[in-house]
């Protein structure tokens, strides 16, 4: 099978994209944290921007940045993962409908409530008539899109560049409900203290990370995407076995992995999945975390993919993402493992360019 190269990356999150370089970590006191604002007008037509909710403008802006990074004008396919979709417009329309008791309603928020609004707007902006898909499978949404991108390269000979990403936004009522059902922590927890938290729930955020995957290596290449696996549900004691099986299908074993990026989100009920891998399969490996930087959401594993790409290219692992004291000068293989509420487990395998 042909190789898949990560040739362009971009991320919008509660942290700066320069997090490896100069920027100090941003700290948040709230359990619902927004993404950093961007100069959206610099890349998005104001007549279109005026209607866009956070998810749409973050998705489009980071897509365009990833394209610029890869020096690609138009991708062959557009693949988006979003677990909760366009929450704000959905909420706006819902609230107007309920409050007016199905009275006279403005159509714009309904139009923009569909999950594929982001993918559709990217296509519209780029005038890209290619394959366009939106996956919405809880915390396996980005993994689903990534899997589709692998199939694109595998089965469609004419595919050279795929735009793939994950984006999720928050909205006042809908995200607020997640406190009522225990998805959010009941007490305020600072993001930088998240991993040490001993209570249930997590902190929620808005993020968007997009990538250009290519069939050819370029001067700008970050790493190779090797494979993705989605497991809907499995017991804690089986996660090691399932991970090992995934590596075996790629003719690897856990000993070949240099760095593992884990989705610990400080939820005492479900972080056991990560502990299981940390203590057993990957005990002697560099272990990293990222949700204390950017919080939890249904497509935040795309941020981990962004981190992994950056680590591969820059051959550097900042201390503030380390879960243990180990180091690795030149990671050759990175595995990302993420789940949410014990379900929708995702495994993403990357390797460096020099192999």
């Amino acid at each position: 099978m042909s190789r898949i190269y990560i040739n362009g990356i971009a991320s919008i999150s509660p942290q700066s994209e320069d997090i490896f370089e100069t920027e100090p970590l941003k700290e948040y006191q709230d359990n619902i944290i927004p993404a950093l604002n961007q100069d959206y007008k610099s890349m998005i037509n104001p007549m279109l921007l005026r209607r866009m909710s956070a998810a749409v403008k973050m998705g489009l802006f980071s897509s365009k940045k990833a394209l610029l990074d890869a020096k690609i004008d138009i991708p062959d396919s557009i693949l988006v993962g979003t677990g909760q979709g366009c929450l704000k417009d959905t909420e706006n329309f819902m609230v107007s409908m309920l409050n007016s008791e199905e009275g006279l309603l403005r159509p714009t928020s309904f139009i923009q409530s569909t999950h594929n609004t982001v993918g559709g707007q990217i296509a519209l902006d780029l005038k890209c008539t290619g394959y366009n898909m939106t996956y919405t499978q809880n915390s396996a949404s980005f993994e689903s899109a990534l899997l589709d991108s692998i199939l694109q390269f595998k089965s469609e000979t004419e595919i050279q560049n795929v735009l793939v990403g994950g984006v999720d936004e928050t909205s006042p009522a809908f995200t607020g409900f997640q406190k009522l059902d225990g998805q959010l922590k009941q007490e305020p927890v600072r993001n930088t203290d998240l991993l040490a938290s001993k209570t249930s729930g997590s902190i929620f955020s808005e993020t968007s990370s997009f990538f250009i995957l290519g069939s050819e290596e370029s001067e700008n290449s970050y790493a190779e995407l090797v494979d993705v696996e989605i497991i809907n549900s499995t017991e804690v004691q089986n996660i090691g076995k399932r991970t090992e099986q995934f590596l075996q299908t790629n003719n690897l074993s856990s000993s070949d992995i240099d760095v593992v990026i884990l989705g610990n989100n400080g939820d005492s009920r479900y972080d056991s999945y990560y502990h299981e891998l940390r203590e057993k399969l990957f005990a002697g490996k560099v272990q990293l975390a990222f949700k204390h930087l950017v919080g939890e959401n249904n497509s935040v594993s795309a941020y981990a993919f962004w981190l992994a790409s950056k680590i591969m290219k820059e051959k550097r692992i900042p201390d503030f993402i380390k879960l243990n004291d180990l180091n690795c000068k030149e990671p050759r293989k990175i595995l990302i493992y993420n789940q949410y509420l014990g379900k929708n487990h995702g495994l993403i395998l990357l390797k460096n360019l020099d192999l």
């Binding site: 329309f93 008791e101 199905e102 609004t117 519209l124 008539t129 996956y135 009522l180 059902d181 929708n344």
Partner: protein, 394 residues
């Protein structure tokens, strides 16, 4: 053997609770369009294709655990997958079976019902997560003991057509041996009010492709088909093969289709190319045909562009079911497979006058003809256009 084998189908819609009832309605020209009974809405003067089973009836039929968060789309989905099992004489699915569902609104029916109760009523909070489309697919998977590959596509009205396409690609690439693909969407106040605000709902039964069409009727349905790799089929009957598929984006407007039908043209062309056939090999088109001014004209123009003067027999079965949104592609895939199995074309109801721009006439009476190849179209908001090609197993 070309294409991916379809070895089972299951469907529920306003025209039937099982396959035979569905076919009977299609043959007798019996539409499922009427005024909403189960859906409590102020707009009860708007015709819809509603399934005549209430949530509590579905709950009882499926023997669901009352503590779990079953939304209507989830229940309809489980019902349809149960139908699939019945129709194939299977007791259950092997544990390696994957499931990919397409849905546009997921569990928004429960959100609109309990939005104002979540704060004060802890009992209702189980439905907070249920709003999201992926949750619905997981609940269906859980019911059938499927723990491995579970995914959801949400591309508005092409969602389940895309789920079917993705399933085929998973099998062709060897990632899966078996996959249940399709979709489920229920009627909600959210969508009824939404489409009403777009002023594209008809106050009468919809009239796809008619000069005097004035909008669509919403409907609800769930339909799933089983795709299997050739080495897994065993003695099962192959209902048809998915030999072609294509997705393209119109890249024209957030909701409207382009005047030249570009997205539809590209999707159909890609599907033909994938199937390795030319346009004149298509025996029947199950059109997207919503009954709106915009869609039907744009789709007709795409037909002209692809097929020239030799446009195959076509009809829109949305005149029976209404537009079942995310489930439409799967429901119409089942209709297409029925066409192949029974060698018959189901009519386009409520048609009398060809539209003046194209002069195209859909099939208006049941036709018994040789059908080897069916093209099924599904187009959605965000310019998302998908075409599937099913062919007779040889």
């Amino acid at each position: 053997m070309k294409g991916v084998a379809v070895t089972g189908v299951g469907i529920i819609s306003s025209i039937g609770k099982d396959l035979e009832e569905t076919r009977h309605s299609l043959l007798k020209g019996k539409s499922g369009i009427g005024f909403p009974q189960n859906l409590k809405t102020r707009h009860n003067n708007l015709p819809v294709g509603e399934i005549a089973l209430s949530n509590s009836e579905l709950n009882a039929l499926l023997k669901l655990n009352p503590k779990s968060a079953y939304t209507r789309a989830t229940m309809l989905g489980i019902y349809a997958v149960n139908q699939l099992l019945d129709n194939t004489d299977l007791k259950n699915f092997s544990s390696d079976t994957g499931i990919i569902s397409g849905t546009s609104v997921g569990g928004i029916d429960m959100t609109e019902r309990y939005f104002k109760d979540f704060e004060k009523d802890p009992e209702k909070r189980k439905f907070i997560q249920a709003q999201h489309p992926g949750f619905s697919t997981e609940m269906i998977a859980e019911y059938f003991g499927l723990k491995n590959f579970v995914s959801t596509i949400s591309t508005a009205c092409s969602s389940s057509a895309n789920a079917i396409m993705m399933g085929a690609r998973m099998i062709e690439s060897g990632k899966l041996k078996r996959v249940i693909v399709g979709g489920s969407d229920c009627l909600t106040k959210f969508t009824l009010n939404g489409f009403n605000s777009l002023m594209i709902l008809s106050g009468n039964e919809c009239r796809p492709f008619d000069e005097n069409r004035n909008g669509l009727n919403l409907g609800e349905a769930a339909a799933f088909i089983l795709l299997e790799a050739d080495d897994c089929i065993g003695g099962k009957e192959v209902l048809g093969r998915l030999t072609g598929y294509g997705n393209a984006n119109d890249a024209f407007h957030q909701t409207a289709s382009s005047e030249n039908g570009e997205g539809a043209f590209l999707a159909i062309s890609k599907a033909l190319k994938k199937a390795g056939i030319s346009g004149n090999e298509v025996d029947y088109i199950n059109a997207h045909g919503t009954g709106t001014k915009n869609n039907d004209l744009s789709e007709s123009i795409a037909f002209r562009r692809v097929f020239g003067d030799e446009i195959p027999a076509f009809s829109s079965t949305k005149s029976f079911t209404g537009h079942t949104l995310g489930a439409a592609g799967a429901a119409e895939a089942v209709f297409s497979l029925l066409c192949i199995r029974e060698q018959e074309i189901f009519p386009n109801l409520n048609f009398s006058t060809a539209m003046k721009e194209t002069g195209l006439n859909p099939v208006t009476e049941v036709q018994k003809v040789k059908i080897d190849t069916v093209l099924s179209n599904s187009f959605g908001f965000g310019g998302n256009c998908t075409s599937l090609i099913f062919q007779k197993d040889e």
